[in-house]
Symmetry: C2
Subunit: 102 residues, 2 copies
């Protein structure tokens, strides 16, 4: 099975990353894993997407080494994933400001 990089032919890391994060539910999944590991169904219920898509996105995130499955606790962010999340945390505060401005 051949993998294609959507959205960019360059393969530049920033483009690959923007493309990955720009897929539906991906940001949301990372966000929901910010505090504690989640089980597959738990995650699915939290975000309200179909299992097909949750499974697909988790597979992509695992391949990107941002998420891993721990048999005991469930899906969780890897060290790399936590780093990425840290970059996103300011979004939370900013979104409140943005909501007021719109």
């Amino acid at each position: 099975m051949v993998k294609r990089v959507r959205g960019s032919r360059t393969g530049r890391p920033i483009m690959v990353l923007l493309d990955l994060l720009g897929r539906r539910w991906v940001l949301r999944i990372v966000w929901e894993l910010r505090e504690e590991p989640r089980r597959f169904r738990e995650l699915q219920d939290l975000i309200g997407a179909s299992p097909t898509i949750v499974n697909g996105r988790l597979a992509e995130l695992r391949e990107a080494k941002l998420v891993e499955l721990d048999a005991d606790s469930g899906y969780r962010l890897t060290a790399l994933g936590k780093e990425l999340l840290r970059l996103f945390l300011p979004l939370h505060a900013w979104s409140e400001k943005w909501a007021k401005a719109t």
Copy 2:
């Protein structure tokens, strides 16, 4: 025409924001506007998406007050959009690190 908030029923700003940014091409468009305003066709060529979708996403970004159209220079980030971009800039450096790790 009724607007529905995809991906979340709560309407919490962070969810609305994650949903907006999680739409295909949205992050990419914001990224391509990081340095200078871009014309519609220019933007379209840069990211390689169909005009239908570029137009749709630009409409959403304009409604979210992150992007505006200046008749003289083209599409550009608003003050709010620039703030958001600033939060995303560390992604660039991080993506390089991430690319090495995967």
